[in-house]
Every structure is written in structure tokens, then in C-alpha cells.
């Protein structure tokens, strides 16, 4: 579903991704772990071309993302993204945050879009917040709205970049619960996370990244319990 070949990314002189190959299959939950600055966010952002790709290729459903002939907006319709800092649109209420892209991009009529938004808000447990503005919500609520907003485009893939890292501890669970539900429903997900519990419980595969490289990849059990890689073990001993 997502195929990554020889992915390199540099910011000027700084090489952040040093050749990554990976393939994500349909309905897989991929958890990406690794120390801060190792290139996890950049890796994720290259998938939907929020960063342009220096070298290599990313394919989504067979379409090459970094090809001048590809309409990236078409691909992004199918790839939802959730950010660490939520990035809700502060000038719109929750309902409009969710309906704007279906209306403007999917050309859904306002009634349908609103109905979809209400359903999604129920799903993330915020049915009563439709008319609230982002500034009136807690961090956990904002992130759940952000997930609903991404889902409103009915994506086939969801990318999460440390969705709980900016949250107070007591709000982490409510967001992870929504993500788990999404996973059970069969969404294909790539999740950059520091929540090792989530990775262990939900991950089909766990990717350990360090210094721009994919150091190790395997089932949660293989990575967390049976890794023989020194760097993986060193990292895990610090975070577990």
C-alpha cells in the first residue's frame, strides 16, 4: 500500500534520511520508534510529500508520490495526517474544522458533510463539542477532533506524528483509545510514537530508526523482547 524505496532526505548539507526501504501492507499498523532527531517525523512527512524528497521514491497504491506527473492533492485525499501540535484551524468551530475539506475538496454537499462530521464526532466521543472552538477544548479533545477531521476525507491510510506527545498524561489514553478503535476497524496506520505500550499492544510491525536509518524492523515481540541489535537495546533500555 505504501512502498518506500531508497528514500533520502537532506536539509541543505544535513542528511536526515539516509536511504530507507520499506513496504506497508494494507491494514497494517506500523509503529515507528527511535530517539528524537533520528528522522521519524521527516520519514512520515515524506510519505505525503509535506517534505520534498531528495532521492528515492515513495509509492502509494502504486502511484509515485514524488513524480511531477502525479497530482499530490489527489494522493493526500487518501492519506490522513495527525500532528503532534493538533494544528486545528482556530478560526473555525469544530464542525467546520471537520467539514471544510469534504466540502471544498470532495465537493460533498454541506448537509452530507455535516452529517458525516456528527458521526465522526460521536466516534471520537465529542458529539457535544460540534459548536465549540478549538481554544475551548482541552489538548486531548483537540487531538480527537484532529483525528475526526482527517477521517472526514475518508482516507485509506492514516499517518500519526507523535499524536500524544503534546498532551498532559491524563489525556493520553482518550486519544490512544480512538486510535485503537481505528486500528480495529482495519485502517492502515503509520504511527510515530513514544508510547511503547501502544506499540507493543497495537503494532503489527515496529520500526526502530536511528540517525536517519531504519536500524531494525520486526514484530513488537521481536523488537521489544528479542532484539540483538545493540542500538535498539540501548534505546529501549532508556525508554522502558
Amino acid at each position: 500500500m505504501i512502498k518506500i524505496e531508497g528514500l533520502h532526505k537532506s536539509f541543505g548539507q544535513l542528511e536526515v534520511l539516509k536511504g530507507i526501504d520499506y513496504e506497508v501492507k494494507e491494514k497494517e499498523i506500523i509503529c515507528v520508534i527511535g530517539p528524537s532527531g533520528s528522522g521519524k517525523s521527516t520519514f512520515l512527512r515524506c510519505i505525503n510529500l509535506l517534505e520534498d524528497i531528495t532521492d528515492g521514491a515513495v509509492f502509494i497504491n502504486g502511484l509515485k508520490v514524488n513524480d511531477s506527473g502525479t497530482n499530490i492533492n489527489e494522493i493526500r485525499k487518501d492519506v490522513g495526517m495527525v500532528f503532534q501540535q493538533f494544528n486545528l484551524f482556530p478560526h473555525m468551530n469544530v464542525l467546520n474544522n471537520i467539514t471544510i475539506s469534504p466540502r471544498k475538496i470532495r465537493k460533498m454537499n454541506p448537509k452530507e458533510a455535516e452529517q458525516l462530521a456528527v458521526e465522526l464526532l460521536e466516534k471520537v466521543g465529542l458529539a457535544d463539542k460540534a459548536k465549540s472552538f478549538p481554544e475551548q477544548l482541552s489538548g486531548g479533545q483537540m487531538q480527537r477532533v484532529a483525528i475526526a477531521r482527517a477521517l472526514a476525507m475518508q482516507p485509506k491510510i492514516m499517518l500519526f506524528d507523535e499524536p500524544t506527545s503534546a498532551l498532559d498524561p491524563e489525556m493520553v489514553k482518550e486519544v490512544l483509545d480512538v486510535m485503537k478503535q481505528l486500528a480495529f476497524e482495519g485502517m492502515t496506520m503509520v504511527v510515530v510514537t513514544h508510547e511503547m505500550g501502544f506499540a507493543k499492544e497495537m503494532g503489527d510491525r515496529v520500526l526502530f530508526m536511528d540517525e536517519g536509518k531504519l536500524v531494525e524492523e520486526g514484530t513488537p515481540d521481536a523488537i521489544f523482547n528479542n532484539s540483538t541489535n545493540e542500538r535498539t537495546k540501548a534505546f529501549l533500555s532508556m525508554v522502558l
Partner: protein
């Protein structure tokens, strides 16, 4: 030399009241046209200055540099005496020249305000919009500009007041603006206190009205996006 306060003769102002009233309208007309045109022009120039395409960026940059880097008075004379006659073969009158010069000048200043306003919006907003599949134009119109606009309101308000006062420079091309009315009366009577004090007071009244309008707009676009008066700024906990 005596400054004869006791001999102030406002009757002569009264005799010329039509001239002053017309002056007010001309000044208002020039300011409003120059300002509204300057906002539209500034929007394009400001976005042009944010373009990655060099053939868009550089013309916009040089335009803004020129109009901010040369005196408005010089621009007015150039446009009235050189540019417009060269293009049309004759003058189009002081009003067209004056409005054009103010518009072109105001556009350059507004461009910087609009550019800075757009740039002040967090990058995450654009990224969220783009990640939802919005093309950059849609993201700009629906996500960035509505937020940036709020931050532009105070400096754009200052620009309006500045333009109102700077519009008096069109007097040099004999535009019948407010200052020009004062000059005519001063010339007719060889007296200076009454006409120029009158002009000053009338400008002050205009800036006062404009300031009130701006304050109203600023209040409407104050910090919070929440429409209601009694709002909770930030609430924690589950719903």
C-alpha cells in the same frame, strides 16, 4: 510682527465653505479609493513576495522597494506629469493622477503588512490544510488569510490614517483636496492662521472618525474566535 489672535476672522472661511466641503470629499475620495485599491494590490504583491517563483518574487520585490524607497511627492509628480501623459497623450485630471499615485504607493506598504501577516501564521496550519488535500490556493483562502487578516487589522488601520494625511500631498498637482482649499483661501486673503488652522481641524476630525471606525473593526476581530461574550478560554478535562 504680531500674531493677532483677537483679530481672527473665520467669516472668510465661511465664505469659502463650499471649497472646504469639496476638499473634504476629494480628500475622502482619494483616501478611500487609494486605500481599497491598495489593499487589493497589496494582497497580490504580498503573496507575490512569498512566492518561490523568482519571476513572480522579483518584480513584486522591486515594485515594493521602489514605492517605499522614493518620496510619495515624487511619485505623484511622476505619475501626473510623466506617466499618465505618456500613456494617454494627455492628462486625465488631478483626481485620477492623485488616486493612482496613492493607490500604487499604499499597495506597496500594504504588501509588507500582508506578507508579514501571512508569514506570522504557524506553518502547521498550512501543513494541516495541505495534508487534507487542499491545493495551496484553497488553503490560502480558507485557512491562512482569515487568520492572517486579524493580525493585519491594526497595522492596516495605521496605514489608513497615514494615507489620509499623506493624501494632502496631491495639493502639488492642484487637486481640489482639503489642503488645497486652505491654500486658496490663504492666497485670496493673504492670511494664514485661519485657513490652515481650519484645514488642520478638519483633518483632525477626519482622522478621529477613521480612528473610531478602526477601533470598532479591531474590537470585532479581537483575540478570541469564539463569538459569545462569556467564553471559557481553556477548559481541561473530559467532556
Amino acid at each position: 510682527m504680531t500674531i493677532d489672535f483677537l483679530d481672527i476672522r473665520f467669516d472668510m472661511i465661511w465664505n469659502y465653505k463650499e471649497l472646504f466641503i469639496r476638499g473634504i470629499w476629494v480628500t475622502l475620495g482619494l483616501t478611500v479609493i487609494g486605500y481599497l485599491g491598495g489593499i487589493i494590490l497589496g494582497l497580490f504583491l504580498g503573496m507575490g513576495k512569498l512566492s518561490k517563483r523568482k519571476w513572480i518574487y522579483y518584480p513584486c520585490k522591486y515594485y515594493v522597494d521602489f514605492f517605499r524607497g522614493t518620496p510619495l511627492l515624487v511619485q505623484i509628480l511622476l505619475i501626473h506629469l510623466a506617466v499618465i501623459p505618456s500613456i494617454f497623450g494627455h492628462s486625465l485630471g488631478y483626481f485620477v493622477s492623485g488616486a493612482t499615485a496613492l493607490l500604487l504607493n499604499c499597495g506597496a506598504y500594504n504588501a509588507e503588512i500582508i506578507r508579514a501577516g501571512i508569514q506570522s501564521i504557524e506553518k502547521g496550519q498550512t501543513e494541516a490544510a495541505r495534508s487534507l488535500g487542499m491545493p495551496s490556493g484553497v488553503a490560502m483562502k480558507n485557512i491562512i488569510l482569515p487568520q492572517a487578516f486579524r493580525r493585519m487589522v491594526p497595522p492596516l488601520g495605521n496605514e489608513l490614517i497615514a494615507l489620509l494625511k499623506d493624501s494632502s500631498l496631491v495639493t502639488v498637482i492642484a487637486a481640489n483636496d482639503l489642503l488645497y482649499a486652505g491654500k486658496v483661501v490663504a492666497g485670496a486673503y493673504s492670511r494664514f492662521w485661519e485657513p490652515y488652522i481650519t484645514v488642520a481641524i478638519l483633518y483632525l476630525m477626519l482622522t478621529f472618525v477613521f480612528t473610531k471606525v478602526i477601533a470598532y473593526v479591531e474590537k470585532r476581530f479581537s483575540n478570541s474566535y469564539v463569538p459569545s461574550q462569556r467564553r471559557r478560554i481553556f477548559t481541561f478535562g473530559r467532556s
